[in-house]
């Protein structure tokens, strides 16, 4: 069914609203919905829950409801990410306002019996706050302090049904832009909102659109950068999986604003579910006449094509990404010319990140003033963070700019796992830095993160505790950049390799104090002379750890010890006088380097010890220590 004008879109919206009726209001638990409409079980279909068998849970729920004759009263739907990945798989029941966590396939029969037949909450699947022991069916503490703009529809609608998106104000912003605004006023609105690129750079989106629009050109291109490469960041993928239409609609709006008729979505081939949902969304949008010729009866034509990445981190850089779409090696090129002047196939091209696009429709519908009231002076709106590592509540969180790290990690994230001590938070992926405890109360925005030696990046936020060695973390990131450096410029190709070698030397206990100076000097040279963002930011993990955790470097170099007990070469195992001489350790030592007679204390030959820790794991008397 092609929608031929705004009236048709609005009629479809009115008709589709019933799909969401149940979800707008929170009714007290009832066995039968008052209006006789089916209740909805929203099963999380995000990556984490998907991996923990959520599709199977959805299937079994359907079968069980069918068996109990309830299938016309309860509908099972798969959604995008709820964000609370730690407790997945998650499902929410509307309109009962009940959220069940850590659901497994064996819980299905109980859910149907207790919740739907007997009409009471299944207590054991409710979320329990580990600090207060309080049970929550809704309004979980995890969601306090969050403001979901980019993630507004994830977990709220079923992403594979365009009508649900339309009912949730979908494509209204497009209609507004088509019939009530001009390209100039659209660009003006985005500029006024203060929206900046969410992929990491933080370039003002409105200005980028304006630059692409300038100058004569027969064709211009819109590219959606979904080549999410930062290890530990998965927000773009979750948006595409949970709300693909919001990205398509924003690309249409950008197309209209800059005068483009063709868009590309460049996505990692490692994201099969996101690709699948995008393909469905594109097909449906074409069916409804929201992509293609004469959209909603206007003169505007626009279509979108998916392009697949092939596993190269550097392709997140816009010039490299453009080369990859052209079918070549994804190597960056010197800017200027910027893609806005000469991009894909030499034409002006606007490259925006997925999360940036996900903010556009809300800005158009609710106005630039609304958006610019959220956030800090220079960073407006919200940012999605992928909170991971040693934190209790791993997941996706969206908070207003200016929220502090402490609020994110301790209030939303529920603090550090196993009651350990916070040591550092790493933001910005391999281009970012490690932020120590003293900056926990810094309000986060683009500028503040740079001023403390890190950067926003795409929003990965990895929490580390006192069992993480910062030298080893720096080495880990350098290993990544060495691997991903495309090899085009010498500074990055050779420089990162030398940095990595020096770090390896230090973690093996062979470092000298001169190495610290050479690390700093080389880091600065690489930052100044690399061609693209990858090389320019590659030394950040070293510089920030050197600044905040210099004592750990010194411990490795001077004391030849690793305070966190991570760097193998610096570990020493020793058997104390607690040893009862049970000989268990000798049986498990792969190097046969433990000697001693039965019922006598044993000794480890340190020369031959492989430092595997097998003896310590096996000892039943706690007699073996690591130091």
């Amino acid at each position: 069914m092609k929608l031929k004008d705004t009236a048709a879109l609005n009629a479809l919206k009115t008709e589709s609203l019933t799909l969401l009726d149940n979800r707008r209001i929170a009714n007290p638990l009832t066995t039968m919905d008052a209006q006789g409409k089916p209740r909805h079980i929203m099963v999380c279909g995000g990556t984490g829950c998907h991996a923990s068998d959520s599709p199977e849970i959805a299937k079994l729920l359907k079968e069980e409801l069918d068996r109990r004759g309830l299938s016309d009263q309860v509908e099972v739907l798969q959604t995008g990410c709820f964000g609370f990945c730690e407790k997945g798989p998650i499902l929410e029941i509307h309109p009962d306002n009940t959220l069940y966590v850590e659901v497994s396939t064996s819980d299905v029969a109980d859910i149907v019996e207790e919740h739907f037949v007997q009409g009471k909450q299944l207590e054991r699947l409710l979320y329990i706050d580990p600090n207060t022991e309080q049970r929550f069916a809704s309004d979980l503490p995890f969601y306090h302090n969050q403001l979901r703009i980019a993630l507004r529809n994830c977990s709220y609608i079923a992403p594979e049904n365009i009508r649900e998106y339309i009912a949730a104000d979908g494509y209204q912003a497009l209609a507004k832009v088509l019939f009530k605004m001009t390209p100039d006023s659209v660009i003006e609105e985005i500029k006024k909102s203060g929206l900046r690129g969410r992929g990491g750079g933080g370039f003002p989106t409105g200005v980028k659109w304006e630059l692409t629009r300038q100058g004569e050109a027969k064709q211009r291109y819109i590219i959606c950068n979904a080549d999410e490469g930062d290890p530990g960041a998965f927000m773009d993928r979750s948006i595409l999986e949970g709300d693909p239409h919001s990205v398509l609609e924003a690309m249409l709006i950008a197309g209209l604003a800059i005068g483009s008729t063709h868009g590309f979505i460049y996505i990692r081939a490692e994201y099969p579910l996101a690709i699948h949902r995008l393909e469905i969304a594109i097909t449906q949008a074409r069916e409804y006449g929201l992509l293609g010729e004469r959209i909603l009866g206007s003169d505007f034509c626009f279509d979108v094509e998916i392009k697949y990445g092939a596993g190269a981190f550097v392709c997140g850089e816009e010039t490299a990404l453009i080369h990859s779409i052209e079918g070549a090696r994804g190597e960056p090129s010197v800017k200027p010319p910027f893609p806005a002047q000469e991009g894909l196939w030499g034409k002006p091209t606007c490259v925006n990140n997925v999360e940036t696009f996900a903010n556009i429709t809300s800005i158009i519908l609710r106005g630039a003033d609304w958006f610019s009231n959220i956030g800090t002076e220079k960073s407006k709106g919200t940012k999605v963070f992928a909170l991971a590592g040693k934190v209790n509540n791993v997941g996706l969180v969206e908070v207003p700019m200016g929220t502090t790290l402490r609020q994110i990690i301790f209030d939303i994230g529920g603090g550090i796992k196993h009651h350990k001590t916070f040591k550092a938070a790493q933001t910005g992926g391999p281009s970012g830095g490690c932020i120590p405890t003293k900056y926990l109360d810094t309000p986060i925005d683009y500028e503040s993160l740079i001023s403390i030696g890190s950067m926003m990046g795409s929003g990965g936020l990895i929490v580390m505790d006192d069992s993480d060695c910062m030298v080893n973390i720096a080495k880990f990131f350098l290993e990544f950049t060495v691997d991903e450096s495309c090899g085009r410029c010498t500074a990055c190709r050779v420089g990162t390799k030398r940095l990595h070698e020096t770090l390896t030397k230090i973690t093996e206990g062979k470092g000298t104090l001169d190495d610290l100076d050479s690390l700093e000097k080389l880091s600065k040279i690489i930052k100044d002379t690399s061609l693209c963002g990858l090389g320019q930011s590659a030394p950040n993990p070293i510089l920030s750890t050197l600044e905040y955790f210099r004592d750990e470097y010194l411990a490795h170099i001077v004391d030849k010890s690793c305070p966190a007990g991570v760097c193998k070469s610096l570990l020493r195992y020793k058997i104390t006088d607690k040893c009862k001489g049970c000989t268990l350790c000798t049986k498990h030592c792969p190097a046969n380097c433990i000697s001693g007679s039965v019922k006598e204390p044993h000794v480890i030959d340190e020369e031959r010890c492989l430092k595997c820790g097998a003896c310590m794991e096996k000892c039943r008397f706690g007699a073996i220590i690591r130091h």
Partner: protein, 184 residues
């Protein structure tokens, strides 16, 4: 796209049919390589040369692209491809240890294939299942919270018991893109 007949049909013919169906050819080199890897399981010189001829471009260009992207492989893969996630979240939750454990259980290093061509081991940069860290994927399916030796043994034993005897001669007929196995 490939179908169930691809075991009978000549994969080169299938590849040619696919290339013929594309409106633009040279620009879609990466897409074609994805498809070819889906048909052949890997991209040996012969396949690269075939594509270069078909698209009328230098084979050096094809090789340049294949060698640039870690998704493409020029070596044949095992029947099952295991990828250890080396994203930061998994790293701080012990993926390095997990990788060493799998390497010792399979008796190969990362990037290698077992002698019986049953398993290939690789690493991948973040698959976005950080809530389950540390994770591995086997043939695209995610297995999370792998923290003890026994769970890992059990997992590989399960795949070993399902293995078909002709692992070595099998030509993979998985659809490219849809079933991502060769990510590194």
């Amino acid at each position: 796209m490939s179908n169930n007949n691809s075991l009978i049909k000549d994969p080169y013919q299938l590849l040619d049919d696919y290339i013929d169906s594309l409106p633009y050819k040279k620009e879609n080199l990466i897409l074609i390589l994805h498809h070819a890897q889906g048909l052949f399981g890997y991209l040996p010189d012969k396949v690269q040369w075939h594509i270069a001829q078909k698209l009328d471009i230098p084979s050096a260009k094809v090789y340049g692209v294949v060698s640039f992207y870690s998704f493409f492989t020029m070596k044949p893969r095992g029947q099952h491809v295991a990828n250890v996630c080396m994203g930061t979240a998994c790293f701080v939750r012990g993926s390095e240890k997990l990788q060493q454990e799998i390497e010792s259980q399979l008796g190969i290093k990362t990037g290698q294939t077992t002698e019986d061509h049953l398993f290939s081991l690789d690493s991948v940069r973040c698959i976005g299942a950080c809530g389950l860290a540390p994770v591995i994927t086997v043939d695209g399916k995610v297995h999370g919270r792998l923290e003890n030796t026994e769970d890992i043994k059990e997992l590989f034993a399960k795949y070993r018991s399902e293995a078909t005897p002709d692992a070595q001669s099998e030509i993979s007929n998985i659809e490219p893109i849809q079933d991502v196995k060769h990510a590194t």
